[in-house]
Amino acid sequence: MRFSLPAKWEKAETDPRKIEGRTRSPGNELWEECELIPAPFAYHRPQSLQEAIGLLTQPGQHARVVAGGHSLIPMMKLRLAKPEQLIDLQDLSELRGIRSESGAMVIGAMTTQHELIGSELLAASCPIIRETSLVIADPQVRYCGTLGGNLANGDPGNDMPAVMLALGAVYRAQGAQGERDIPARDFYRGIYSTALLDGEILTAIHIPIPAEGHGWAYEKQKRKVGDYATAAAAVVMTMASGICTQAAIALTNLADTPLLAQHAGEALVGSGVDEAVITEAARRAQGITSPSADVRGPVDFRVHVAGVMVRRAIARAKQRAR
């Protein structure tokens, strides 16, 4: 059935260009006042890594690179970030792609979360990356958000850093002085503070391929799709004849940085990973957390959830290990 609109509705103006005082285009006062419009900046789209580094190191300018933009642009809208020069890495195809190279997976920094999910190579050799990507944000965000952006951002809520700690990944950075490798475990210094120097660009992530038949799990408690973790745990472990021979546990959003729960991992090694061992590992992991109270709950609750996530992640990793 079709019905026709009352005449007065037919006439209602819907084109924002024609509604006085409603548009937020440049020149309109409302636009300048609006909180969700970033401060002005100059935009560049370099065609090579060298050109990008050159732009990033112009003297006297606050420059930032933008990858997927899905952490940076929201920050710019809130004016928590006000770069004067924005350097868009989208055309640098050399920063994309997933390949295996002498015992390691090498993932370009500009590879999107959507591409990580679709990669057969990763699904076969390092499935925790797919599992984690699927609980990050929502489909639209994952088409844009990149691995490099997620790792370089330095927000303790980002999910990939803990996974990289558990996997023992190494980040490759390039600056005017050349290239250097930074282990993920040395990378995170504080909230939005990392070992990356001004003028350096993350180019690739090297992940030692975990042993064949290893167990893995990323368990994340969140309030809804698109929410950061109340608490989350990554576990990567190897079992041989029912005994754990190697284990790494790392935690998301439970301190100012992602945490490697070294002693918790050690609790598993040499054991059959029974209930008592899992309980001890969870207790050790909880012991190194220092979350703040926020909309996701008070401190005690978040520490409690951390314990639950660690227990679940170990149990599932054990079940998957061959």
Partner: protein
């Protein structure tokens, strides 16, 4: 800040514009080009009302600068209907199955569903729900939206088979 000259394709039409670098794609579409299908619901990358198809991906146009979209191919809900005004099967199914109430989320929902079905034309209910998890609807409770997407998928698959 100096405006930049950008070129893009919107709904198969070549478009040129002068844009301040901080102009968001959603503002270019709505306020410069008068394409008001994509809505601004939250302005904080959460609701999906501003979703458009950009180079074969669903993106939230409130979280992309227009200059980043220079060179891109954009499709909005306006680009789905046939040249003769005939509705796209998704639009038809949303109408038929009450996939909308107030309609605010609908342009984003439909353009997202469009991309999802391009990627995989045979989706389970769970896959559909996962696929539209970046689009919020405050009215329908999603039930009728999921029903509409399933019906559209069946219709599109039938049409494809008939054509082969």
């Amino acid at each position: 800040m100096a405006k930049m000259h950008i070129k893009l394709t919107v709904n198969n039409r070549a478009v040129e514009a002068l844009a301040e670098p901080r102009l968001l794609l959603i503002h270019l579409l709505r306020e410069e080009l008068g394409i008001t299908g994509p809505h601004i619901g939250c302005d904080t990358s959460h609701c999906g009302a501003c979703t458009v198809d950009m180079n074969g991906k669903s993106v939230k146009s409130c979280t992309v600068f227009a200059v980043q979209a220079s060179g891109a191919e954009i499709t909005t809900v306006e680009g789905l209907a046939g040249a003769d005004g005939s509705l796209h099967p998704l639009q038809e199914a949303f109408r038929e199955h009450h996939g909308l109430q107030c309609g605010f989320c609908t342009p984003g929902m439909i353009i997202r569903a469009y991309r999802m079905l391009q990627e995989n034309p045979n989706q389970s209910e769970a896959e559909i729900r996962h696929g539209i998890s970046g689009n919020l609807c405050r009215c329908t409770g999603y039930l009728t939206i999921v029903r509409a997407i399933r019906a559209a998928a069946e219709q599109m698959n039938r049409a494809r088979e008939a054509a082969e």
